[in-house]
Amino acid sequence: MAVRSRIKTLKIDGRDVSAHEDETILQIAEENGIFIPTLCRIEGLSLIGACRLCLIEVKGWNRLVPACHTHAEEGMEVFTDTERLRNYRRMIIELLFSEGNHVCAVCVSNGNCELQYLAQRLGMDHVRFPNMQPVRKVDMTHERFVLDRNRCVLCARCIRVCDEIEGAHTWDMRGRGIDARVITDLDIPWGDSETCTSCGKCVNVCPVGAIVEKGRAVGEMTKRKDFLVYLSKMREAKK
């Protein structure tokens, strides 16, 4: 085994934990069974720090920082579940729910959706914003997969996996702010894409029911369980 970095001791939610200095707070929390919500991060792909659900408080620091991108420091005191954090997380989930079309009862990913899980786990019990009722055309042109932008949460996992692991770079993002959306190639129907290898990686990383396999009934869409391991391996191999 390669020489590992120094060991740090710190406190998370009052518990003493030890960690290697190259580990993030999120990794340490996971090792210790402490739950921190995440959505944009997926092991094996680059970090973008975009969903802001993993924000934590650190004693003596003014700003909230993302656990996925903050490294352990000696003597650090971390809080992962304060009232302040719970409020922001609920607010973010509430904003996400009201932006897209998330009627779980008719979604193939019902029961296997990370957004749905987070909403339940974080206790988002009502949405105070009128739904924006997006009417974005569902792309059914791919022979095996379907893209429903009404359910997309713009986590950019599909873009990253397709670029960083598959090397196809079929996906990208277009527009900015509220108008941002995922595109395939030159914003053409997915079925006409010249770069897509139909590998299905994007299907496996999509946290919601936005990219799914064709022909699934409500609640039937599950993701490959060992996919995270696979991604990490592929990424290591690429380095």
Partner: protein, 569 residues
């Protein structure tokens, strides 16, 4: 006027940029946009092959920048600014008038394909409000100050607009022509650089800047000397210097005036920074809406290179420093330093997560110093006369002099140089000729700033005093509103600004700016619970957003809520 047929062909553009790598993407897209008025699929395919960038990626980049189009546009694109300062000067009526005359809605092109009309955010010409920007196919951009009607917008202004300036300290803006750039002969022989190359080691340059206490003038007020020191010590090579001339904060136009009038001062400051951190390559990133500043700086660079003040072996010292101008393409977020790096690298202007900070991992992943135009313009004076000299103005914490951009309801809107610590009231009365009408509110620091009420204008303009009253000096924008103004209308414009400029990378800001805008749009007839929603969104954005845009997108709204709660009932 040059006709479109003179425009460069796609083949010629592609061959000019082929093999130059990804960071040539924005310059190449600009060349195509200017030549053909839009960038079509054929051009994207050709560029993809020439620069080795995936097609989806290029398409995503085009869609990120407001000044790039993927659909055909008119031969002339007319953009009318509707940000607050122009709004006060009647820009809504102007936009209506232009649209009516041409028979289109904003965003549309006339059926004969001659004109496209667009609404735009602040063009940085606030002292000449209302302002417009014209893009002529095959020619490029042209600013229109004090636009009156369609004819005045289309008329070819060959007489340049003079800057409106004033000063209590007579350093940067005094004794120079206001209607043209200072020439190299008038500026002098880059004496600070000459002396430095002869007598000073890089760490001595840094020490001088540190001794001056200079804080960055771009908004974040970070100590400049410390930034340089951190970059100087970064072992990874090469190092880069960047001048942030993206100036897109509504109500801010001091950098434009500095670049238009004193380009050599800026170039000397940039070269001194390069020497201090041992960089050989520098970039000037200028917003696409500043054609005149871009042109004058390019001329100044050419003149400086011809005289041996820039380039290889400067003044026989062995020090090499090259400067390249990069044009932005309409995105406020690209003023954020890491988004600006992404733009130079040819990507969508998405801010990076920090740390690592630019002084360690910046442009192209290398140690980088990025400074505001005004910050760099302070450098030659400090090198020549020393830190103590600079500290004779200002306070212990806010040293030296500062430029402020004053717009709105004052007799003489313009750029003014003040010692830090000057009370706002003195700026308004002595320099700007007084408030026109009865003062109702002042917006400090631009859209990302906060409101002050009339009883707060004795506050000294320093970073620390403004912080104490919960406000900010920011980039030095001061927008003045008299009591004829409907502040709800101002808030509506600010909401629209942030909704339009959010990059969309992180959830709180991407979704929050949209929801904030919806509520600000209906302030005249709010729904029950709107006030709480506005507060909750504002706090969430301020505390949980990834970058400074989202973190300040609610600042003005929250400050107005504190001072004028009745506006939200």
């Amino acid at each position: 006027m040059v006709s479109a047929s003179h425009a460069e062909s796609l083949e010629s553009i592609i061959s000019r940029f082929a093999g130059r790598g990804r960071d040539a993407l924005l310059p190449a897209l600009w060349a195509i946009q200017t030549a053909s008025g839009h960038i079509n699929l054929e051009a994207v395919r050709a560029l993809s092959l020439a620069l080795n960038v995936p097609e989806a990626d290029i398409y995503g980049v085009i869609g990120f920048y407001s000044m790039f189009h993927d659909q055909p546009t008119g031969e002339t694109i007319i953009r009318v600014c509707t940000s607050p300062s122009c709004g006060l000067a009647g820009s809504d009526d102007l936009l209506d008038h232009v649209c009516q005359r041409l028979g289109v809605e904003p965003g549309q092109t006339t059926s004969d394909g001659r004109y496209t009309v667009e609404e735009t955010t602040c063009l940085g010409l606030c002292e000449h409000a209302p302002a417009a920007l014209v893009s002529q196919r095959g020619v490029g951009e042209r600013s229109v100050p004090s636009a009156v009607d369609l004819e005045s917008i289309l008329a070819d202004h060959s007489a340049p607009y003079p800057a409106v300036t004033g000063s209590l300290t007579h350093l940067l803006l005094d004794g120079i022509p206001v209607d043209r750039a200072q020439t190299l002969a008038e500026y002098g022989d880059y004496s600070a650089l000459r002396r430095t190359l002869n007598d000073l080691m890089p760490d001595e340059v840094v020490a001088k800047i540190q001794a001056s206490g200079l804080l960055g003038r771009g908004g974040a007020a970070f100590p400049t000397g410390l930034k340089w020191e951190m970059a100087r010590r970064s072992e990874e090579k090469p190092h880069y210097v960047i001048c942030n001339a993206d100036e897109s904060e509504p109500g801010t136009f001091k950098d434009r005036v500095l670049m238009e009038l004193r380009p050599h001062l800026l170039l000397e400051g940039l070269a001194l920074c390069a020497y201090a951190i041992e960089a050989e390559q520098g970039y000037l990133f200028i917003r696409g809406e500043y054609p005149l500043a871009t042109q004058r700086l390019q001329q100044a660079i050419d003149a400086a290179v011809a005289s041996g003040y820039l380039g290889d072996n400067i003044m026989g010292s062995g020090f090499n420093f090259h400067v390249e101008i990069r044009r932005g393409a309409g995105a406020y977020i690209c003023g954020e330093e890491t988004a600006l790096f992404e733009a130079i690298e040819g990507k969508r202007g998405f801010p990076r997560i920090k740390p690592p900070y630019p002084t360690r991992v910046g442009l192209f992943g290398k140690p980088t110093v990025i400074n505001n135009v005004e910050t760099l313009c302070k450098v030659p004076g400090i090198i020549n006369r020393g830190g103590r000299w600079f500290r004779q103005w200002g306070t212990d914490l806010s040293t030296g002099v500062k430029l402020v951009s004053v717009s709105g309801h004052v007799s003489r809107p313009g750029v003014y140089e003040i010692p830090l610590g000057t009370p706002l009231r003195q700026v308004l009365t002595e320099l700007c000729g007084g408030v026109t009408g009865r003062l109702q509110a002042v917006l400090m620091g631009g859209a990302a700033g906060t409101f002050l009420a009339p009883d707060e204008i004795d506050t000294p303009l320093t970073f620390e005093d403004l912080r104490t009253v919960g406000s900010t000096l920011g980039s030095g924008a001061i927008m003045v509103f008299n009591d004829s103004v409907d502040l709800r209308d101002v808030l509506r414009r600010l909401g629209a600004f942030f909704q339009h400029e959010s990059c969309g990378k992180c959830y709180p800001c991407q979704l929050g700016t949209q929801r904030q805008k919806e509520i600000l749009d209906r302030l005249h007839a709010p729904l029950p619970g709107d006030r709480e929603r506005l507060t909750d969104i504002g706090q969430t954005m301020s505390e949980s957003s990834l970058c400074g845009l989202g973190q300040t997108a609610a600042a003005a709204v929250l400050s107005a809520m504190k001072r004028w709660p009745h506006l939200f009932e």
